[in-house]
Subunit: 336 residues, 4 copies
C-alpha cells in the first residue's frame, strides 16, 4: 500500500486527488497539510468528503510526513512549491508536483514567464516531466515528477504524433482552447461569480498565457524540432473539461486514412488516449483520465480535436498515473 500525503489540500486538484485515491486499491491518503491559516477540519473545506476520509488538514510537519508517506502530491502554487519540494525530497519522500516550478526546463524562460527567481535548479534538472504518453521512460525512475498543466496535456497529446513525424509546419499551429471554470481554481472572482459566468464564454490571456511556452517546450522536446504555437484559451460555463481545436499546415500530402493510421500506431498501447471518428465531447471525458482525440483534414489543413477533464487527465488523474509509475504500480490502477 503506497502512502500518500497531499500538500496544499484545499483546492480542486487536492480534492480530486483525494477522490481518486479513495478508490485506489494500492494507495491511500495518510496526511493532509495546508498553510496554517487555511487549516480546518476536512469536512469544512470539502463537505462532500464527510464519511469518506477521516483526516485533519494540518500545518505540515516534515518529520511526521516522512514517517507516514511514501509519495507527496504537492498542490502548492508556483514559487511556494520550489521552496518546499527540496525538503520533501530530502526527507526521502517522492514528489509529484502540480506547480509550474519544475515544468519549465529553461530557467531563464521560467523566470521571464513566472516573474520570479528559480531557487531550486538542482531538482529542476533532475525532475521528470510527467506526461507519461510522451516521456514515460524518464518518469519511471524519477523521485520528482513535474505534473503537466491542463491545456498543455490536451495540446501535446494532440500534436505529438504529427510533429514527431514532421507532418506539419512546426511554426504554423493555432490552438483554440476552451476550459471549464474549475481550471481557474477555487478562489472567488467576480468573473466566476455564478450569475456572471453562467451562460458565458470569453477569451482571456491573449498572447500571454503561461501554458504557451510549456506547450512549446513539450512539443519541441517530443518532436526534436523547434515548435512554436499560437495558443488562445477561453473559459466557458462548464464545471470541468477542456476542448481544444487545433489547426495545422501539413508539410506534404496526407490523407485522412493516413492520419488515422498514424494516431492509431502512435497511441496503440496507451490506455488513456482514445481515438474517435468525430470530434470529442468534454462530457465523455468528465471524471476520467482519458484524452479523446480526433484528427482529420479540411481544405488541405489538418484539424485535431482534443478533450480532457482539466482536473483529471489535466491534473489529479495524471498525477496518480505518475504516482503509479514511480511507485511500481500498474499505470492505470485506480484510474479506469
Amino acid at each position: 500500500m503506497i502512502r500518500v500525503a497531499i500538500i496544499g489540500a484545499t483546492g480542486y486538484t487536492a480534492y480530486e486527488s483525494i477522490l481518486i485515491l479513495l478508490r485506489h486499491p494500492q494507495a491511500q491518503v495518510t496526511y493532509l497539510t495546508a498553510l496554517p491559516e487555511e487549516c480546518a477540519p476536512l469536512t469544512e473545506v470539502f463537505p462532500a468528503l464527510q464519511g469518506r476520509l477521516d483526516l485533519p488538514i494540518e500545518p505540515v510537519d516534515l518529520n511526521k510526513l516522512a514517517g507516514c508517506a511514501d509519495v507527496a502530491l504537492c498542490c502548492l502554487p508556483h514559487k511556494v512549491s520550489m521552496s518546499f519540494v527540496p525538503k520533501l525530497l530530502a526527507a526521502g519522500v517522492k514528489v509529484v508536483d502540480f506547480s509550474a516550478d519544475y515544468r519549465i526546463r529553461d530557467v531563464a524562460l521560467y523566470e521571464k514567464v513566472y516573474k520570479v527567481e528559480h531557487t531550486d535548479r538542482e531538482n529542476l534538472a533532475r525532475a521528470a516531466f510527467g506526461l507519461p504518453e510522451l516521456f514515460r521512460e524518464k518518469i519511471v525512475s524519477a523521485a520528482l515528477v513535474a505534473n503537466p498543466s491542463c491545456y498543455p496535456t490536451a495540446a501535446s497529446l494532440a500534436l505529438a504524433p504529427l510533429l514527431k513525424e514532421r507532418l506539419i509546419d512546426p511554426a504554423d499551429i493555432y490552438i483554440n482552447a476552451v476550459s471549464g471554470v474549475s481550471g481557474a481554481g477555487r478562489k472567488t472572482a467576480l468573473a466566476f461569480h455564478f450569475p456572471e459566468m453562467n451562460d458565458n464564454l470569453f477569451g482571456y490571456a491573449v498572447g500571454t498565457h503561461r501554458h504557451m511556452p510549456e506547450i512549446e517546450q513539450i512539443l519541441t522536446q517530443a518532436a526534436g524540432q523547434l515548435v512554436q504555437v499560437l495558443f488562445q484559451p477561453h473559459v466557458v460555463c462548464m464545471d470541468r473539461g477542456i476542448g481544444e481545436s487545433i489547426y495545422c499546415q501539413p508539410t506534404g500530402k496526407i490523407t485522412p486514412a493516413q492520419l488515422t493510421d498514424l494516431y492509431q500506431a502512435f497511441y496503440a498501447r496507451e490506455p488513456f488516449v482514445r481515438l474517435l471518428n468525430k470530434p470529442p465531447s468534454t462530457k465523455n471525458v468528465a471524471h476520467t483520465n482519458f484524452c479523446d482525440l480526433y484528427a482529420t483534414i479540411v481544405k488541405d489543413k489538418i484539424l485535431v480535436f482534443s478533450a480532457i477533464d482539466n482536473l483529471i487527465k489535466g491534473a489529479s488523474g495524471q498525477a496518480v498515473q505518475n504516482l503509479n509509475i514511480i511507485s511500481g504500480l500498474p499505470e492505470t490502477m485506480g484510474l479506469l
Copy 2:
C-alpha cells in the same frame, strides 16, 4: 420625460433598472452614483452597457441630483439607505427605495431582525409599501416607496386572495422557495463560485430569513388578520428566477373551480399577474415583470405555485412599476 437617478449603481438591481429604463418611453436615467470607492466608468462596472448609456458613476452630489432627477431609485443596502433617503426627500426628489429600511413598519421588529437602530422613523411612517397589486392606492401619492423584497413579492401575490377571503388557516402556511443566484447579489462568495454553484441546490437561512417577517407583515395587512408563515428559501444554479410552492390548510370545503374563480376575480385587472392552469416555469417570467400563479387542491390541501424574476418583479421591474405610479405614468409603461 421623468428623470431618474440611480443611487448605488453597481449591483444587479441597478443594472436591471438601467436596462428597463433604456427602453422606457417616458423615463430616462440622468444620474448614476455610488460610494466613492466603487465609482468607475460605467462600462467597467457593466461592460454590457457600452454604447447604450453614456454616464459616469459618480460620488453623489445632492445639489446635482436635485437638479437632474425627479425620482431616485435607491439601491443602497439597509442602514445606509435610511441615512441617505431623508436627504433625497428633502431635496424634493421622490424615492423608490430597494432596501429593507422602509419596508418593516414595526420599528421594534425591524431593529430585531436587522440588528440596527432605525434612524428615520418619520419617513418610515410615511412610506408606501410598493406592492401595487395589494397597496396601489397608497402608492399613488407617496413621495417614498419601499420596494418589496423578491421572495415576499412572489409569496404575497400567491397568498393574498386566499387570506383576504379567509379561506386558509393563517397560521399553517409553508412557503418553499427556490431562487436563482442573482438573488444573493453581486458580491462573490465561495458558495456562489461557478464550480461550486453549478449543478447545485441547497437550503439556507433556516428559520432566520429576514423575508419571513416581511411576508407576514404584508399578508397580515392585506388580510386584516394575523398571518404567520414558515418560509424556507433555497438557492439553485439559475441566474435568475424564484419559484415558490406554498402549502396551505383550507378552513372549509373548496373546489379547484372555486379557487380558479377566486384568483381570476382578484387579479382580473392586474396586468402583471398571470393565472395558469399548471405550475409556472421560472423561465417564462425571466426578464419580465410578471408573476405567474397556479392554485389547486391536492389531498384537501391548497397548493399555490408562484414564479417571478427576482430581479424584475422581485426588484427593478417592480421599482419601475412604482416609479410609473408615483410619476403619473401608465403603470405598465416600459414593462411589457
Copy 3:
C-alpha cells in the same frame, strides 16, 4: 467475482450501474442486453465507455444470460419488467429490478396508479423492497429486490426516524422535492431541450406523481402506522441530484438536540446516511451513494432536508448496494 447482467442497457441507470461496477472489486459486468431495436455497439449508445468496457448490447438470450450472470440489474420500464423478471428468476439469476413492478405491494393500488394489470403476483409477494437502511433483513435472503425510486429514497430516509418514534403527525407531512433532469430519463422532450430547461425550474405532476403512494407504503410499513404525505416534485436545471425539504407537525414538544440525538441513534451504523448540521447540498452527494440529512425545528414545526444523487442512491448505487447484500459482499463495496 459476482457476474452481472444489465437488462435494458440504454438508459441513465444502466450507464451509472456500469460505471460503478467498473470500479467494483468483486463484481463485473458480463452481459448487456436491450430490445432488439435499441441494440447497438456500446460505444454508440454510451461513447464515454469507449476503452472501458468491451461488450456489445445484444438482444437478450436467456440461456446465455443464465450461463454468464449471477445477478441481473433489470433496468426495464414497468410492465415490461414483470413480463421478464420471472424468466430471469426461473433461470436461477437473482434480480435487482429498477421498475415499479415489484415495489407496490398492494396489487390494487399498483393497478390503479400504473393503469396496467399486474401479471406476476407470485414474485411480487416474494420481492424484498431494496431500501437497506429500513429493510435490510429482508433483502439479505431475497432472490428479487425491488429497487426503490429516487424521490421515495430521499423522503423515506428523512422521515423514518420521526415516524417510527411517532414524533410527528403521520397525516400532515409536506414533501417539497426538486430534481435534476436525469430523473426524467434519457428520452428527449421539448421541456428538457437544453434551451428550454437551462435556467429553469417548474413543478409538475401536481397531486398525481406515482412516487407519492410509494413513499406512503414505505413509511407506513417502516412506522407501523398509516402515513399520508403530500408530495410535490419539481425539476430544475441540474444534471442530477434531488433535494427535498419536508415540513412536519410534531406530536409533542421536542428540542433540536433531541432531534439530533434521534437521527444519530437511528443511523449510527449506516455508512450511506450522513447527518449534517445545516441543509445539505445536492452537489455534495453527486456521484455518491450518500443520503445527506438535516433535521431541525422552526416555529414549532419540524423541517427535514434530504439530498441524494437521484442516479446513485436514488437508483444505480442503491442497486449495487442491494447487489452486494444479496451476493454476500460487504454492503459498501465499490460504493465509497
Copy 4:
C-alpha cells in the same frame, strides 16, 4: 405603424422577433402563421407570451396576410421558404427571409450545399443580403432581404475591415466558433437533451458546415477578392451566444494601434458594432443586437474575437434592423 406578419411562428427566431416587436414603438405584430399541423394557441407554443400578445397562430391565408401586414418575417426552413416567398412578394408584402434560400447568390453552390434545386432564381437575383454594416445601401430599396446566418454575421463583421484593406491573406483564415444550443433550433435531439448537453462542449460539422460558403461569399463580395476560410463550429452549454476566435496571417507589418484605428474608422458610425480592448463575452451581448469585436496581434498573427447573440444580431434582431431599413424607420428603433 409598420404591420408585421411572422411566417413559421413556432421556433426561437419567431419568438425572439415577437419579443423585440412587442417593444418596438413603430412596428407591431399583426399575424402569426405556421404549418397547419403546428398551429396552436400562441400561449401553448410560447407560454411566456401569455398576456403580452393576443393572436392565434393560424395556417397562412395570403389574402388576409396581404391585408394586415406590410412586412413579413419569414422564419420557414430553406426550400419551404423559396416556395412561399414569391407569393408574399406578389401580394405586395416586403419580406425579410431567415432561410438560406436567398442568401447564396451562386445557384450552383446553393444547390450543392443544400442539396435541393433552387426554384426562385428571379427573386434570388433581386434579394439584398441583410448585413447592414456591409451592404446597407442595397437593403434600403429591397423588397426582399435575405437575413444572414448567425455564424457568418459574427465572422463577417470581424473580418471585413481586414479584408477590405487587404491586410490579411484571404486564403489563410481560421474561424473557431462556439455557439449556444438555441442555434440548433427548437427541435429536440438526444445531443441537446439537458443531461447530455449540460456541462458539455463539442465540435461538429467538420469541414461541412453550410455557413462556410456563406461566410466566403459575404467576405469575397465585401473585400472584392476571393476569400477562403476554414470555419469550425462547436456547441456548448449556453442558451444563446456565439463567440468566434479568428486567426489570420497579416500580409505585411501592422501594429496593434493600427489595427485599433482601422476598426474604429471602419465601424465609426455603426451603432451595433462595439469595439473592445479585450476579448468580448457572450453574456455582454446576450439579448442585444450588438456585435462586440476585439482585434489584436499575437506572435505576428492577427487575432480577432467576435461575439453576438445568435438569436438577436444573428437572427431576429438583425431582421428587425433590416425591417427598420426597408420600412424607412430609424435603423436602431426597438433595438437599443
